[in-house]
Symmetry: C2
Subunit: 126 residues, 2 copies
């Protein structure tokens, strides 16, 4: 019996998803799996934000972790980082074209979340 490691028999879009290692859904899973990434993208859709502005919106994140998540999103091309050579430092983060294309998805997520919270009023989002 031959190995069928990674074959996606069940994927909807068969032409794109015959194999695990070329599946767009696997990509998205990896792009968005981070613990803060969805939220960072969501906040940035409001407009560009400085480091401390993002930090201020997430009460429970450390500077180091936020830096890590931002760098990762930057490497994936979803956000850009613009450093102004001033003192004290000023660094602006914003969505790239690629990042902006995620926003409709995030809006649907928000709708889902709101509905979920209505149906489960006992649930704590955190």
């Amino acid at each position: 019996m031959t190995s069928n490691k990674g074959i996606h028999e069940a994927c909807f879009m068969k032409e794109k998803c015959l194999q695990y290692d070329t599946c767009p859904m696997v990509l998205v899973q990896n792009l968005l799996a981070g613990k803060r990434k969805i939220l960072i993208l969501w906040y940035l859709n409001y407009g560009t934000l400085r480091f401390n502005e993002i930090k201020g919106k997430m009460p429970d994140v450390t500077q180091k972790m936020l830096t890590q998540q931002l760098r990762s999103l930057e490497q994936d091309g979803l956000i850009y980082r613009n450093v102004y050579p001033v003192v004290p430092p000023k660094v602006e983060y914003g969505l790239t074209e690629s990042g902006k294309r995620i926003i409709p998805i995030l809006k649907m997520m928000h709708g889902f979340g709101a509905h979920y919270l209505e149906k489960n009023p006992d649930v704590d989002p955190q």
Copy 2:
């Protein structure tokens, strides 16, 4: 100066998102942040699947981790788990009503991922 810990000045849907701890987006971030959750939901939309069927679609997941992710999704009410009292065991997983409501989001994600891969042919999804 008073603390403004967790205030969401920048959220789109202000009436729902004035505070971090009641924000639907924070909820969704936490529901979907798991390393395999998006993929599991995606596969289950095809139809109910048995444990080993899901496992077979993810070449690099251990039994333990898959069990954990499934339990977590079950606790969050996105999937159900149906145990048949037979030997050897048979356990079926499927989407709940809540889980089905995520599918349109996943379909958009797939579209995004496919487009991203077209623009960045060098990227490895994994």
